[in-house]
């Protein structure tokens, strides 16, 4: 049951994040949506490794079946990667804000049609 709830929550978060990413015009909001979606995908991965009644996958934590340790190992790497991506994207938002004085996608793209330097 807990596994299923985790899966459903993960998918819901991914959907919510993508919705925010598409609908919001502000770049910071878009990145927040992206972060929520990334968090949802991580929760989804961890929940897929869940086994009913499983204990945490740490050696020496007592008897009984453990949850699948591999998704948790993968998730560690994925979290680092998402963090790096988000940080880099924020750097680009800072650069754009300094130059264009706006974080609105439509205004940024309208100015895109200016002639090339």
């Amino acid at each position: 049951m807990e596994g299923l709830a985790g899966l459903a929550l993960g998918i819901a978060l991914v959907g919510l994040g993508f919705w925010t990413l598409v609908v919001r015009r502000n770049l910071i909001w878009k990145l927040l949506g992206l972060d929520v979606a990334a968090g949802g995908s991580i929760l989804f991965l961890v929940a897929l490794g869940y086994r009913p009644g499983g204990r945490p996958a740490i050696v020496g934590l007592g008897p009984g079946p453990a949850v699948d340790p591999l998704p948790q190992a993968l998730v560690l790497t994925a979290i680092v990667i998402h963090f790096a991506t988000l940080a880099l994207a924020l750097v680009y938002v800072v650069l754009l804000t300094h130059r264009r004085h706006t974080q609105d996608v439509r205004r940024l793209e309208a100015e895109e049609r200016w002639p090339q330097p």
Binding site: V22, I81, T85, Y92, L96, E112
Partner: protein, 483 residues
């Protein structure tokens, strides 16, 4: 195996050392180490689990790895030579990017591929904004956001496949032979393909590609289009070993081929034009993979790396030297080396004998069913028609720096002539006549097409995201339908 891994390690280590100091020296050392290790493992090696059972990372030196290494090392040499005046961290970052791509070609593990694809996107966007131009920053932002969305989808697909099969190794998945037997697997494989297609820059899914390849500095455009995009193609080739992806890849290939050509046909800016053609040439590779002609797809990927790298280097140098970007305005202003580079590249991409494009297209159309040959001819005619625009540029004046153009001209000619002389099927008059006919029809068509230009909608960030999500939905539904 040890040689290949130490080559990757040398690339990453020298790249990091170059960030501290002596950037060009360490990049040169990385290239030397790469060539040395490549010559050590060159005939290839069978699959090995690094780290042992049960969770080691599978690496193998198969033809795809060989091709990507040859392409990556040649491109690195050309870029080092061409951008030798570039300072600071430019060359170390290029070294790291190429090292990542070399590692990606070795890997046969779904998660490892995910990490390397994401790392290559991160490094690539840093290089795209290298000259700190506003438009380049915007292009890099789009690139980063779209590939991140694609890789979130990839991660979910990977989770589903792992939950069902308990393995992440391509070989183990292929041996299980489950295919799309269960809905979970079909959805998982669909998400994996969609994520990789976004990273590859397939039309309608990876619409980050045209602005990013257009705005990047000259050498970076060449590496992005020549090598980084190919990591995604390698990943798709690996995935098609594990899952029956044939129809999906054929549909994606036709879509990206004709979509890219439609946008390129009436494009006036030379770098955007070349960027749309990267998407269109991906069509050949995906169609080849989808039809099960792995060798043809591989040869096309390598040939495309050479001639598109050459075209981007030449066009970028021309744009930098003249300060103009419109094809019409560039005519009669280019220097000799740039014009020769553009000429050889155009000759090759149009598929005329005996250069690399002819050999690659010949390999693909051999053994293809009739309808696939018709699709290939259609793509060839479209490519030739849109590249006819570049013919007025071949009136050079004066001389200029040659740089890395010579390396890639040699690559295009070497690959093409080698295949032409060693494969007798390519020398048959019929193959030569077909290639000439396709290029001729394309050239003839470009006159009427130029008279009646079509306008396609501009593809901003939001539209690209929506088309990405709908494209993914389409792929997943198709995978479920194919079950």
């Amino acid at each position: 195996m040890a040689a290949a891994l130490s080559g990757v390690l040398a690339y990453l280590a020298f790249g990091l050392l170059g960030l501290i100091g002596r950037p060009r020296l360490f990049s040169l050392l990385a290239l030397a180490a790469g060539v040395a290790t490549f010559s050590l493992w060159a005939p290839g090696f069978p699959e090995v689990l690094v780290g042992g059972l049960p969770w080691g990372i599978a690496v193998a030196g198969d033809p795809w790895t060989l091709g990507m290494w040859a392409l990556g090392l040649t491109l690195h040499g050309a870029v080092l030579l061409h951008g030798r005046a570039r300072k600071e961290e430019f060359h170390p970052l290029i070294t790291l990017l190429i090292g990542t791509c070399l590692a990606g070609a070795l890997s046969r593990d779904l998660f490892n591929l995910f990490v390397l694809m994401d790392l290559s996107s991160l490094l690539a966007t840093i290089l795209v904004v290298w000259e700190r131009r506003e438009r380049a920053v915007w292009a890099a932002f789009r690139y980063l956001v779209l590939t991140e969305v694609g890789l979130i989808l990839y991660l979910m697909g990977l989770g589903l496949v792992y939950a069902r099969t308990g393995t992440l190794s391509i070989t183990a998945l292929a041996q299980l032979g489950l295919g799309f037997s269960e809905p979970i697997l079909a959805v998982g494989a669909g998400l994996l393909v969609a994520g990789t297609a976004v990273k590859t820059g397939v039309f309608l899914l990876g619409l980050w590609l045209p602005p990013a390849h257009d705005q990047a500095p000259t050498e970076v455009s060449a590496v992005l289009s020549g090598l980084v995009v190919k990591v995604g193609v390698v990943a798709l080739a690996r995935l098609s070993e594990a899952f029956p992806l044939g129809p999906i890849l054929v549909i994606l290939g036709a879509l990206t081929g004709f979509g890219g050509i439609a946008y390129a046909l009436w494009e006036k800016d030379i770098k955007i034009f070349l960027a749309h053609h990267t998407a269109s040439q991906l069509g050949y590779m995906l169609l080849g993979l989808g039809l099960g002609m792995e060798l043809g797809a591989l040869l096309y990927a390598v040939a495309h790396g050479f001639f598109k790298g050459l075209l981007f280097l030449a066009a970028g140098s021309g744009v930098v030297q003249t300060g103009k970007r419109e094809i019409k305005e560039l005519a009669g202003r280019l220097s000799w080396p740039v014009a020769v580079g553009l000429g050889v590249g155009t000759w090759a991409i149009a598929g005329l004998p005996p250069l690399a494009g002819f050999a690659a297209k010949g390999f693909l159309s051999q053994g293809a069913p009739f309808w696939a040959k018709a699709v290939f001819s259609g793509l060839g005619i479209g490519t030739a028609a849109s590249f006819s625009k570049l013919i007025p540029l071949l009136r050079p004046i004066g001389t200029g720096p040659v740089g890395g153009l010579a390396v890639l001209v040699a690559g295009v000619m070497g690959l093409g002539l080698g295949a032409f002389f060693f494969v007798p099927e390519l020398r048959e008059p019929r193959a030569v006549a077909e290639a000439a006919l396709v290029a001729g029809v394309g050239y003839a068509l470009h006159w009427p097409l130029r008279r009646w230009p079509l306008r396609f909608p501009e593809l901003g960030l939001d539209r690209s995201l929506v088309s990405l999500l709908f494209g993914t939905l389409g792929i997943v539904i198709l995978a479920l339908f194919l079950r």
